[in-house]
């Protein structure tokens, strides 16, 4: 079975830069760019949904693409 892949969508205007998603992403997809998160390594996303679940600001959506 191939590993799941995900696509991270960031709604920048909602992001308050709390860093929770960056910290709890197991494959280090995300990083802070000043005070807004960005997907620095989008190809590493395994669609585990941790960032979406934990984002307090409704600023991250993850869609499974594989």
């Amino acid at each position: 079975m191939s590993k799941a892949k995900g696509e991270v969508e960031i709604i920048e205007k909602y992001c308050k830069g709390c860093n929770i998603c960056v910290e709890f992403c197991p494959t280090k997809v995300l990083e802070m760019d000043l005070f807004v998160v960005k997907a620095a390594k989008p190809e590493a996303c395994i669609a585990c949904m941790q960032c979406e679940l934990r984002c307090p600001d409704f600023a991250i959506k993850v869609n499974k693409i594989a």
Binding site: N19, P56, F58, V62
Partner: protein, 272 residues
């Protein structure tokens, strides 16, 4: 697929007012998922709150929402539920709102076992007014009104609810995102007063004063102090020192208040 929160949130209301890293948003997401799981008809659902950061939650949700006065959410909600028992009633608010100024309404809602789900976000502090100590601020901690450390003992909200007669009491934390919606779902399905205490973080007014370096530190602490009820039964008192039990802490079947009142109507010869 990404979870569709948008259909539950009123258009144009995001971003919300909560500070960066505040867990209330995580709880709100959990509440939305639980309401979806229970397929609650939003037209027939009242979400009632008091005053404080957590009490701003209802305004974001597409339902019949009632943002009341400080501490009074449970009493307003009781009026809604009594007058229209067919409505789903969810109460939400913070620790100060629910157990200090609203403590009397809280314990009596528990005692009546009226069919409502009370989601209480315990972030150990009065956040909106700038970080004064609440009945849930740990003894010794710093708040804007305890500059020398808090001399007060705390309320254990879940124990308070159980003691007052709530028939479903559960606890989780803002770290345990998936458990939030599972427990709220159980609470909504439960017939009677359900209390779901969510230990939460206030990085702005509690974390800063109490040596948490970051939001992430606060989240990690919530993870570290939590012990599921089942696991706790196999642990020694020493191992449980400083830990908090999570999961369903109490559940029992008891007559529900509006059902009891239907019997009163019957005895009086009226038609409900």
């Amino acid at each position: 697929m990404a979870y569709d929160y948008d259909k539950s949130i009123r258009p144009g209301k995001l971003p919300h007012i909560w500070c960066p890293g505040c867990g209330h948003g995580i709880v709100m997401k959990g509440l939305i998922r639980a309401m979806d799981t229970c397929e609650l008809d939003r037209d027939n659902t009242a979400i009632v709150s008091g005053i404080g950061c957590a009490s701003r939650l209802p305004g974001y949700l597409d339902a019949c929402t009632l943002h009341t006065a400080h501490g009074r959410a449970a009493a307003f909600a009781t009026g809604v539920k009594m007058a229209k028992p067919e409505m789903n009633v969810i109460v939400c608010g913070g620790d100060g709102d629910g157990t200090a100024i609203g403590g009397n309404h809280f314990i009596h809602a528990c005692r009546r076992n009226i069919d409502m789900t009370y989601v209480i976000m315990n972030n150990y502090i009065y956040g909106m007014t700038g970080g004064q100590f609440s009945p849930c601020t740990p003894t010794g901690d710093k708040a804007s009104t305890t500059p020398y450390g808090n001399p007060d003992p705390i309320f254990d909200i879940s124990k308070l609810a159980i003691g007052a007669g709530a028939t479903f009491v559960a606890r989780t934390t803002a770290f345990h995102a998936t458990q939030i919606d599972k427990l709220i779902t159980e609470g909504i399905k439960h017939k009677g007063l359900a209390v779901i205490e969510v230990l939460d973080d206030c990085p702005t007014t509690y974390g800063r004063r109490n040596k948490f370096r970051s939001v992430v530190d606060m989240m990690k602490r919530l993870k570290d102090i939590s012990v599921p009820v089942a696991a706790a039964s196999k642990m020694t008192a020493e191992q449980l020192e400083g830990k908090t039990l999570t999961g369903i802490l109490h559940q029992e079947d008891k007559p529900e208040y509006t059902a009891m009142y239907k019997e009163v109507i019957k005895r009086a010869g009226g038609a409900a």
